[in-house]
């Protein structure tokens, strides 16, 4: 019933299910990414958080940072939500759904570090949040321009030869995803990693990385 227009980029089509003109689909590529996302989400579900140790400089003294139970619960919830949003972005066959999932990843990424009381972490999370918020402009803007020029948002149709997506929309989409999942770039500031709780903070990077890989696939196929 469904047939992918090109199998050169994402590999063979494994499974597709349609909701009207929105077709969620799995190729070899997206399935691999999905497995990755599922593994890390399960890690966030079951793993215990790391406990950071600070060594006092020039002596033998050290102190460990305890994580309170409320913070732990909140972080774990947000990390799982982030994982689910990532999975949604990976299998989504609709450009607007993809952008929505990306925006949700941006929100949950802020949320994961937001419960810490460390001033540096909060400062960085705030800057990240500002960028993520402004990034929704190119993100949704790209989706709107695609809809305006081609008349559809279904990737299934957009991937065909007959439909050409304007270059500006592709660029805006890329910029938007870069803004939402910007952890790999922004980590240069490094403050966000002061936040303790390894499996949850890792989720920030995993989700960003995965939506990058996905948006590359989308942009090449369009």
């Amino acid at each position: 019933m469904f047939e992918l227009p090109t199998t050169e980029i994402g590999g063979d089509l494994l499974y597709a299910t349609g909701f009207g003109d929105i077709v969620e689909y799995f190729t070899v590529y997206t399935t691999l990414l999905l497995v990755f996302a599922v593994v890390f989400t399960l890690l966030a579900v079951f793993a215990r958080p790391e406990r950071q140790v600070d060594i006092a400089f020039g002596g033998d003294a050290f102190y460990t940072k305890d994580i309170q139970k409320d913070d732990l619960r909140f972080q774990r919830f947000i990390a799982i939500a982030c994982g689910i949003a990532t999975m949604g972005a990976l299998i989504s066959g609709d450009v607007f759904n993809f952008t929505l999932f990306c925006a949700m990843i941006g929100i949950t990424n802020i949320g994961i570090v937001a419960s810490y009381r460390n001033k540096y972490v909060l400062e960085t999370a705030y800057e990240y949040g500002i960028v993520a918020m402004t990034a929704t402009v190119p993100l949704f803007g790209a989706a709107a321009i695609i809809l305006a020029t081609t008349g559809t948002l279904s990737m299934w149709v957009l991937f065909t030869e007959a439909v050409t997506v304007p270059l500006i929309a592709k660029i805006l989409l890329l910029v938007g995803v870069m803004g939402e999942g910007m952890a790999p770039f922004f980590i240069g500031k490094a403050e966000i990693t002061r936040a303790p709780g390894a499996p949850y903070v890792l989720m920030i990077h995993v989700s960003s990385l995965l939506i990058f890989l996905r948006v590359v696939e989308i942009l090449l196929s369009m």
Binding site: F96, M104, I107, I130, F140, G141, A148, T150
Partner: protein, 202 residues
């Protein structure tokens, strides 16, 4: 597809100019809180771009766009509050600022509109205004006056029915009497029901 392409191009040009202006503002601003407000401005322009498409689908896309924007704004506000240590829990959780400023003008508008509507509907509209006023401003439960007025209004309503039956040539007077009497009665009843707090002397 867009039916009117040239108009769309003009619209998207204006939107892009707005985006550039708001981004320049965002770059120049250094105060954290103001930057947060400016990001909200950019989000609104994003909605404008979606709205320019002007189809039913675009209309359906605006809603999730707003929701996502609001969610991000809320999350960032929480981060900002925590960052600045500006947390102060309100003493009375069901008291927000608008409840101090809005009631007077709202009650004037609603009661005025209720009088224009008159009849049962008008009574309900005006009653909502009065209930809102009492809820916001607080009230002491001494309602004898309202109860009395309500009683007289009900009596006038009945009088109006007698006018209809006995003196049908004065139907206009009867309509007016019934309309205003039921307005006052419903308004008074709603006001009573809305603010009864279960004090001991009621």
């Amino acid at each position: 597809m867009i039916p009117d392409v040239s108009l769309y191009m003009v619209g998207i040009g204006v939107a892009f100019v707005c985006i550039i202006i708001s981004f320049i503002a965002l770059v120049r601003e250094t105060e954290d809180l103001h930057r947060l407000l400016l990001t909200d401005l950019t989000e609104i322009i994003c909605l404008v771009i979606i709205a320019l498409v002007g189809t039913d689908l675009a209309e359906a896309l605006i809603l999730p766009g707003i929701v996502v924007g609001l969610a991000e704004l809320l999350a960032l506000s929480e981060v900002y509050l925590r960052k600045e240590g500006a947390y102060r829990l309100p003493k009375d959780t069901f008291h927000i600022e608008i409840m101090d400023s809005a009631p007077l003008i709202l009650v004037v508008v609603l009661v005025g509109y209720g009088i224009i509507l008159s009849g049962f509907t008008g009574g309900v509209v005006a009653g909502v205004g009065v209930v809102f006023y009492f809820m916001c401003q607080g009230s002491e439960e001494r309602f004898e006056l309202i109860e009395t007025i309500s009683g007289y209004a009900w009596a006038l309503w009945i009088v109006a029915f007698f006018v209809f039956m006995v003196l049908p040539q004065y139907w206009f007077f009867g309509v007016m009497l019934a309309g205003s009497a039921i307005l006052v009665k419903v308004m008074a009843k709603m006001a009573l029901v809305g603010v009864m707090g279960g004090e001991s002397d009621v």
